[in-house]
Amino acid sequence: METLVASTSETDIGITSSISWKIRVRRLLRSSRPYFAALGIGIFFVAWYLLVDVLKFWRFKELPGLVASVREWISLDPVYGVSLFTAKYYENIWASVYRVITAFVLATTSGIIIGVLMGWSRVFRALTFPLLEMLRPIPILAWIPLAILLLPGRETPIIGLTFLAAFFVTILNTLLGVRSIDEVYFRAARSLGFSEWAILFHVIVPGALPYIFVGLQIAMGACWFSLVASEIVSGQAGLGYKVWETYYSVQYETMVIIMATLGLLGYISSALVRMLGNRLMRWRTRILAGA
């Protein structure tokens, strides 16, 4: 029997894994959403094509054209050496993806642990919260010199800076998540004879999870942002480095290809975090008609 799912918001769509992929795709295609999405993106590309390729309007004539960029991207023998069919393209993607994954995993693991501790212990919170609030507003770009001074080599400063951006966001959201849990669940747990550990694992962590996952999505965005910034300053490979390098060597088509790649990777990584969150928080789906 088919399960009816009422989503509380747009982002909740596709939560229940009990529904088969087929049904989900069919339902998606019946809704207006994918068509509007295609239309929105389509308008953007048409505008690009018209402004740059056709009309050469104002300073848009300086920009790489849509046709030239796409042709370069899918070329077997690209003019500037980077396309879907060159190893160089994937080397740069991998350099960046590797850094983001490393930094994201380190930052979110430690950030969740620290955030839970801050929510759990009043003393720890009093000790660390003002410090966090002082360090958090310092822009990542301002940390770059310090990271280069402190961390050896060229790779670790980039990972360190990417880490930092995600770290603060994760801590803050985890802390908010723990603090958002209604007191009544703690009372119930104590009445039911939960140990402090049981309260941690069965009340605090699952109760904070919705906020934690919002934090993880923001953290993922922050990772890409600071990755590109730090690659521009101190990198030797990677997408951020490549954007800057292609700008200097007037390879604008390649620059646009790299930018589009960053957009796609950001979208995919965000979607992956969201999917993981939905999987872990199936309890948030309201099932109206029983299976």
């Binding site: 009544v184 119930a188 039911l192 004879g193 939960f194 140990s195 049981a198 009340v203 999870l209």
Partner: protein
């Protein structure tokens, strides 16, 4: 019907003052009454009369500032004693406290499992038996968020009973339910009470609900909360909705309403919105 084992609640000169340095709001003053083992005791009174304060003290969430509370001659709450909740006094909360991130079955078995009183397997067997007996076996794999309000209240009562408590404390548990659901859940509670009689401490605003459920009604005054009157409800059990229109019922209702109305009026005239809700 099972034999009642223990569960005598004794409230002796209980007092509670909030914010002792500042405003000195007296929530409870010299409150004394006894609940015999297995008795269904309902406390009624205007909002702000300290009903919930009293319940929190019995449950071990909050400290008393004077007097003491005993269960089976063991002191549970006293002014100089740190409050401590325990599985011998299970609470069913006004706003509901099923863990929304756990399935119904997990919620129901978590008490005895966490206390180490039953193994997971034993607890599941017992939970299925109890859920089956009250017609809730089909929902055990669902999350609370997918249940109706009335269903959630029933699961929460079952969760409390799984701990085999001496006393069941219910803080306006059916307040948020519509009238029809409410009567169904009330009958459900009475049914369970007839199967496993426990000492019950039940708080409500609703006079009809109080009489329908109670052996004894404790009427409290508006702030400072004191015991105004105790009324015995000698309507035989098992009871069903027909009781609601019986002459005996109406007579008790008349009596209770007289006491309550004067208190509600006082609260209203005091001009405190929270009191005359």
């Amino acid at each position: 019907m099972q034999a009642v084992r223990g569960g005598a609640v004794s409230v002796r000169k209980a007092g509670k003052v909030y914010d002792p340095e500042g405003l000195n709001v007296v929530a409870l003053e010299d409150v004394s009454f006894e609940i015999t083992p297995g008795q269904f005791c309902v406390v009624v009174g205007p909002s702000g009369c300290g009903k919930t304060t009293l319940l929190n003290a019995i449950a071990g969430f909050d400290k008393l500032s004077g007097g003491k509370i005993l269960i089976d001659d063991e002191v549970l709450a006293r002014a100089d004693k740190a409050p401590k909740p325990g599985a011998d006094r299970m609470v069913v909360f006004q706003q509901g406290a099923l863990f929304p991130w756990k399935t119904v079955l997990w919620n129901v078995i978590c008490g005895p499992v966490q206390q180490g009183r039953l193994s997971q397997k034993e607890a599941i067997t017992q939970a299925r038996e109890l859920l089956g007996r009250v017609g809730l076996s089909k929902i055990e794999e669902q999350y609370p968020g997918s249940l109706s309000g009335g269903m959630k209240r029933r699961v929460e009562i079952v969760r409390a009973l799984m701990n085999d408590p001496k006393v069941l404390l219910l803080d306006e548990p059916f307040r948020a339910l519509d009238a029809l659901t409410k009567s169904v859940v009330q009958e459900f509670l009475l049914e369970l009470y007839d199967i496993t009689p426990k000492t019950i401490f039940f708080i409500t605003h609703d006079i009809a609900e109080a009489i329908f459920l109670a052996d004894r009604i404790v009427i409290m005054t508006t702030r400072p909360g004191r015991v105004l009157k105790t009324v015995t409800v000698n309507i035989p059990r098992p009871r069903d909705y027909r009781v609601l229109t019986s002459p005996r019922f109406l007579q008790i209702e008349q009596e209770v309403r007289e006491y309550i109305d004067s208190e509600a009026r006082k609260a209203f005239n005091a001009g405190e919105r929270e009191l005359a809700q």
